[in-house]
């Protein structure tokens, strides 16, 4: 069935196949390049909008070297006054990195939080991704001590998922810390 192999036809065949495949990939990449960028941008926008008050202008991502913070976005009103920050904050959860987007008002109050990436246990720690759960609702306007009740703070932990709750709390605390330090400047 297959052709007999010799050095020339092997080399030719491999080269031809690679060329064709490279062309196919090049074209696909060129076609999908924009939709991919748009999808990623839309996702980032949506995750920021979810944790901030409506309205206002959102800045480009600003890099940060604060502990656990990858970067943040500044929201400002028409006059240019800062109305809120959206901070991308990461800690180590139970199963791996836990990355949150935390919306913080300039005075250091938490506006809302959302989970960007996690690898927590399904059904236990992963409950932190359920919006409208009591764990997530408590963060809206949270202004207590940043620790779970077990550790003497004001955060109600997710049942049977203390480590995830601690990580979540720490990530929010990191974000608030950053905003407070910026507001004081």
């Amino acid at each position: 069935m297959a052709a007999k192999s010799n050095l020339i036809n092997m080399a030719l065949c491999l080269t031809a196949v690679c060329l064709v495949c490279a062309a196919v990939l090049g074209v696909t990449y060129a076609v999908t390049c924009e939709p991919i960028a748009a999808a990623a941008a839309a996702e980032a926008q949506a995750s920021i909008a979810k944790v901030l008050p409506a309205g206002g202008e959102i800045s480009e991502e600003i890099a940060s070297d604060a502990e656990g913070v990858d970067g943040y976005f500044v929201q400002s009103d028409a006059e240019g006054a800062v109305t809120a920050y959206a901070v991308k904050s990461t800690t180590g959860g139970f199963g791996g990195p836990l990355t949150l987007m935390v919306g913080v008002l300039p005075d250091g109050t938490v506006y809302n939080t959302s989970v960007l990436a996690h690898s927590e246990t399904p059904g236990l720690g992963a409950k932190c991704t359920e919006e409208k759960s009591s764990f997530r609702e408590q963060w809206k306007g949270f202004a207590g001590a940043f620790a779970v009740r077990k550790d003497g703070g004001d955060v109600d932990a997710i049942t049977a998922s203390t480590i995830t709750s601690r990580a979540y709390t720490k990530a929010v605390a990191q974000a608030v810390e950053l905003v407070k330090s910026m507001s004081n400047e």
Partner: protein, 193 residues
């Protein structure tokens, strides 16, 4: 072999999961819910059909000694095309299935069908074979997904019928092995009759 049986053989006689036992990694890893299993099955089917078609076309001119590298390049190309398309149009699905999309390259089903079927059959038959095996794979993954979702989270296709949690172990790694083992027993019982 009739054209029809080319498609139906993937369901029972040559079911890729329960009879040929190929492509175990995605079978176990992505079937945490019925929907995930279905999506993974469809993604694999896409690559399988296209690679079967192309390989059946080029097989007669590919020198014997380099046929494996050539097939791998073809398969890897289609997988990359799939990755790009998914990133562009279904980013959420791409994120859930994660690593297992690029790993379709090393899914033994695809190279296996290329070797066992596509390189000695015509384009049309190879395409049908791809569809048949693809449907078999997709169905198996969906069934495993349904069982794990019912036991593990008390839901079917995301629709929850119990309050509270299911048996979490079934959504996690051990459940995957155990459910697949028992389904295989069931399949043996039914198919051998």
């Amino acid at each position: 072999m009739s054209k029809f049986s080319l498609i139906t053989k993937g369901l029972l006689k040559e079911n890729p999961t329960f009879v040929l036992v190929l492509g175990m990694c995605p079978t176990l890893a992505t079937t945490t819910s019925a929907m995930n299993g279905l999506e993974m099955g469809l993604a694999t089917m896409f690559v399988l059909i296209l690679s079967n078609i192309v390989i059946s076309l080029i097989a007669p001119v590919v020198p014997d000694k380099v046929h494996i590298p050539v097939y791998i390049v073809v398969i890897a190309t289609f997988v990359t095309v799939l990755q790009l398309l998914m990133q562009a149009f279904t980013p959420a699905v791409y994120k859930t299935l994660g690593l297992f999309i690029p790993l379709i390259v090393v899914n033994c089903i695809i190279l296996g069908r290329a070797e066992a079927f596509a390189n000695k059959n015509g384009v049309w038959d190879s395409a049908l074979d791809g569809i048949g095996i693809g449907i078999g794979f997709t169905l198996s993954l969906t069934v495993i997904g349904i069982v794990r979702e019912i036991l593990g989270s008390g839901a079917i296709f995301g629709w929850k019928f119990i309050t509270g949690d299911g048996m979490l172990a079934f959504v996690m790694a051990p459940g995957a092995f155990i459910v697949l083992g028992y389904l295989m027993v069931l399949f043996n019982k039914i198919a051998k009759k």
